[in-house]
Amino acid sequence: MIKKLLILLIVLATAYVGLFAIAELPPYGMPDNPVHNQVSERYINGALEETGAMNMVTAIVLDYRAYDTMFETIVLFTAALAVVITLKTDKKEQIGGEGEGGR
């Protein structure tokens, strides 16, 4: 019981500190927020001239951050590879094997 109370106290204290941190955040969508720096300004003003793509998201994903997307596709490749290695069962092995699994 005391242990549970102690855990509750710790959780509440952490939440209190976290809420203080959240209260310090700038209001959402204000034009003078720190997120609206020169990087997003460059993207908004120069994406069409510099990449020729009308969709700004594609311009960022496939041109400005092309390296990121490249390794994202490698992550996809690794995921598919891991699934195939884990789940692929050889048919011949299942029929003629010694039968470690009783399926």
Binding site: T51, A59, A80, V83, T89
Partner: protein, 141 residues
Amino acid sequence: MRDFILKRVAAMILPFVCVYGFYVIFHGHISAGGSFAGGIIVGLSYIAFSTIYGIEKGRAKMPEKVLTWTESFGTLWYGIMGMVGIFKGAPFLANKLAGVDLGLPGALFSGGIIFYIGLGVGIRVASTMITIFFSLMEDES
């Protein structure tokens, strides 16, 4: 699932779903969407087909050889497209710096290598989805 109505409705809808997925991939640099979303749609059309008609017919529509090829060469295609920049004397994956013709904004073949990279990524995502689904389905049966 061997439902008659489901099969007929799927036969009518799924081709358009697949074509729409390729539309989203090809128009990723013009309109909303992109290669990842389009690839998911293309993959989902095949996944729905093999769920409704059975894994055997789904396998017949998408042979394992094709899956292996797209799976292996999708990422390599990205690298090859990146080498265009190096051959033109610019950094890896450079687009405008490499002097690629960007074309008229809004046209289908605009944006330099973005179009080709997006095509590779879309096919890649679709093949990944189908491969994972087929592996999971086969283990179950």
